[in-house]
């Protein structure tokens, strides 16, 4: 285990957690006036992605996209300002939490509609193939999106045209409050199903950061080398409510016991403890990373709070290019 790699993974995970916790903390103040879908508990997959991807590669994501935006290198200040509806936001206040974009790092957008960004990521891969560049296109999706027709259409097209696209499915077991058991037949593997459609697939345990990193890194390298699509499915677990800042283990769709069981597997906490044990120097350096990130996050919220709202008349601009 190389310290450098794992401190980087720690940094990525901690940063996402810190940002999302800060959103949860400030959300009740009522100044982030849009739905938010937090990735707390699911940080390991974007973290290993951040560690494996180039800034020139393309990525698209979903309503739960803060973590992917950050992992791709998206500007933190612009994201928080966007959630605050400010003109300094990454979409100038037109999109909010569910519509994040940072063209400087080829993070091409997120969609509020389940499954909607999947074919868009495949289209980016088609453009890469046409232009003959060495990029890959990454598509983040959840388990719910694999129930949408457009998912199958997109996977099929990626397979038939042999497109350089990496599908990254974060299976957190729930679509809003509906468990997998009412949505997909018992015992059927999403990855196996996609494999039958002609894609190379791999399954990862999102609570094991080392193996998840290896799977992600190998897949990114292979898609780049072969130009052919790969599908990854990672198990993970969302800690907070589907939409909003709070916990929701008391409303009846899952139990507190189930939540605690998954929380005990927290890859961030586990990695931190493991790294702390390696040396006292390491423990100090982790504290330094944490305080740097905490400061960065605080500054991002200050930036968002201090930024100006767009002019009322801006609502009518930009319908057409």
């Amino acid at each position: 285990m190389t310290d450098n790699l794992f401190t980087n993974l720690f940094r990525h995970m901690y940063r996402i957690r810190a940002v999302e916790e800060a959103i949860a903390h400030h959300y009740p103040e009522g100044n982030m006036r849009c739905p938010v879908h937090l990735s707390i508990g699911q940080e390991s997959i974007p973290a290993v992605f951040a560690q494996s991807i180039d800034s020139t590669d393309f990525a698209v994501s979903t309503h739960r996209g803060h973590a992917h935006y950050l992992a791709k290198g998206g500007n933190l200040n612009a994201m928080i300002a966007e959630i605050y509806g400010k003109s300094s936001g990454c979409a100038k206040g037109k999109g909010g939490s569910m519509h994040l974009i940072d063209l400087a790092v080829n993070f091409m957008g997120t969609s509020a509609i389940v499954g909607n960004s999947i074919p868009i990521g495949v289209g980016l891969a088609l453009s890469v193939q046409l232009k003959g560049t060495n990029q890959i296109s990454c598509v983040f999706l959840g388990d719910g999106a694999t129930e949408e027709g457009v998912f199958y259409e997109s996977v099929n097209f990626a397979a038939v045209r042999k497109l350089p696209v990496l599908f990254i499915c974060e299976n957190n077991l729930y679509s809003v409050y509906s468990p997998l058991s009412v949505r997909q037949p018992k015992g059927r593997s999403i990855a196996k199903m996609v494999e039958a459609m002609g894609l190379e697939v791999a399954v990862g345990n999102g609570h094991n950061i080392a193996s998840s990193h290896e799977i992600m890194k190998n897949a990114v390298d292979k898609v780049r080398k072969t130009g052919e699509p790969i599908f990854l499915e990672f198990t993970t677990y969302r800690w907070r409510e589907h939409c909003g800042h709070d916990f929701d283990n008391d409303i009846g769709y899952r139990t507190q016991e189930e939540f605690l069981e998954w929380q005990a597997k927290d890859p961030l906490n586990n990695l931190e403890r493991e790294l702390q044990r390696t040396s006292s120097q390491m423990a100090t350096s982790l504290e330094k990373i944490k305080s740097e990130i905490d400061l960065e996050v605080k500054k991002a919220f200050d930036f968002a709070e201090e930024s100006l709202f767009p002019a009322q008349s801006d609502a009518y601009d930009g319908v057409y290019a």
Partner: protein, 334 residues
């Protein structure tokens, strides 16, 4: 495609022997299978693919042989293509062109004959183009391809075999400009696509009755050329809006509303519209008799609006036999 290497063309059947009613014939041979290709039967995903490719500078021209199949792609069209530019703060646009064939007749029936321009026109961020003549079809298609926005390009099946002069080369007709195809003094007929042909037949008849029609072929439904419409109505004081789609929520209804709101004082008679009934188009030859809006309906309506006796119209402007084809040369199958 010659002008710009980033233009690609795909759709179910664009490279097959029928080549989308001959409209994409030889394209693959000329520009290669990377830029011109057949596709899986996946209308929704393939629209998303066009959006994604557009994000990296590729301009897609997608073709569907019936608009009705494309309804599966409304998510990608409405939620993504139409909104990407706006909802991401005007940083990036979606230059895609979606060719959809509309029509009527030959037993196309309930799900092969819809004219849904009003749906698309309702969505901010979309442009909607409906050419009538061969010249406009070429000029507007090229303009659509090079427009930075998503354009829904509606082609009426009954116009595909129209013969007319077409300028060569990179010939463009501006989007958003209507054409006055006939000038007149007594009534303004606002029309689109195939309905313009029926309007011309009606105007010929009305001329023999001493009624002078001004016919505006909209060519673009969105953005609509309101200046041309208002100018003409102010001149004639009489408006009949035609539509190839269903009556309720039609483009014709929007035109009547806006004219009534903006130039009410210029109107000499109440404005009117003629569109398809709010009924799915039936298939049977017998059931479509008298079903379509045609020249006689237009002539009668205008004579009624102007207080003239229209009892003779049907004797002159007979329903053609067969009534369900653009001409006797049309033998189907679709």
């Amino acid at each position: 495609m010659e002008v710009d290497e980033s233009v690609i063309c795909y759709g179910l059947g664009v490279t097959d022997p029928k080549s989308a009613f001959g409209t994409t014939a030889n394209l693959e041979k000329r520009f290669g299978s990377e830029r011109v290709f057949d596709m899986p039967t996946s209308e929704n995903a393939m629209t998303g693919v066009a959006i994604g490719a557009a994000l990296n500078g590729v301009k897609s021209v997608m073709t569907h042989q019936r608009i009705d199949f494309f309804l599966l792609a409304m998510d990608q069209l409405v939620n993504s293509a139409a909104k990407w530019h706006y909802m991401f703060g005007s940083q990036i646009s979606i230059p895609i062109t979606i060719r959809l064939i509309i029509g009527r007749g030959w037993g196309q029936g309930p799900t092969h004959s819809q004219n849904l321009q009003a749906w698309f026109a309702h969505i901010p961020g979309l442009k909607v183009v409906m050419p009538t003549t061969p010249e406009d079809a070429k000029g507007l298609l090229i303009s659509s391809i090079f427009d930075p926005n998503p354009v829904v390009f509606l082609e009426h099946r009954w116009l595909h075999n129209t013969i007319g002069e077409v300028p060569g080369g990179d010939f463009r007709v501006p989007i958003g400009k209507a054409k006055v195809v006939r000038t007149g003094a007594d009534v303004t007929i606002v029309s689109m696509s195939y309905m313009t042909i029926e309007a011309l037949h009606a105007a010929d008849y009305l001329a023999t009755q001493g009624i002078s029609c001004e016919i505006i072929d909209l060519r673009t439904i969105k953005p609509l050329d309101w200046d041309t419409v208002m100018y003409s109505v102010a001149k004639t004081g009489c408006l009949l809006a035609l539509d190839s789609g269903f009556t309720t929520g039609s483009v014709a209804g929007e035109i009547v509303a806006r004219v009534a709101i903006e130039v009410f004082d210029k109107l000499k008679v109440p404005p009117a519209r003629l569109a398809m009934p709010d009924v799915p188009e039936p298939t049977s030859y017998a059931l479509t008799k008298g079903f379509y809006v045609r020249a006689a309906d237009i002539a009668k309506k205008i004579m009624e609006m102007l207080g003239k006796d229209f009892s003779e119209v049907n004797n002159t402007l007979l329903e053609p036999t067969p009534h369900d084809v653009p001409g006797n040369w049309f033998k189907g199958p679709f």
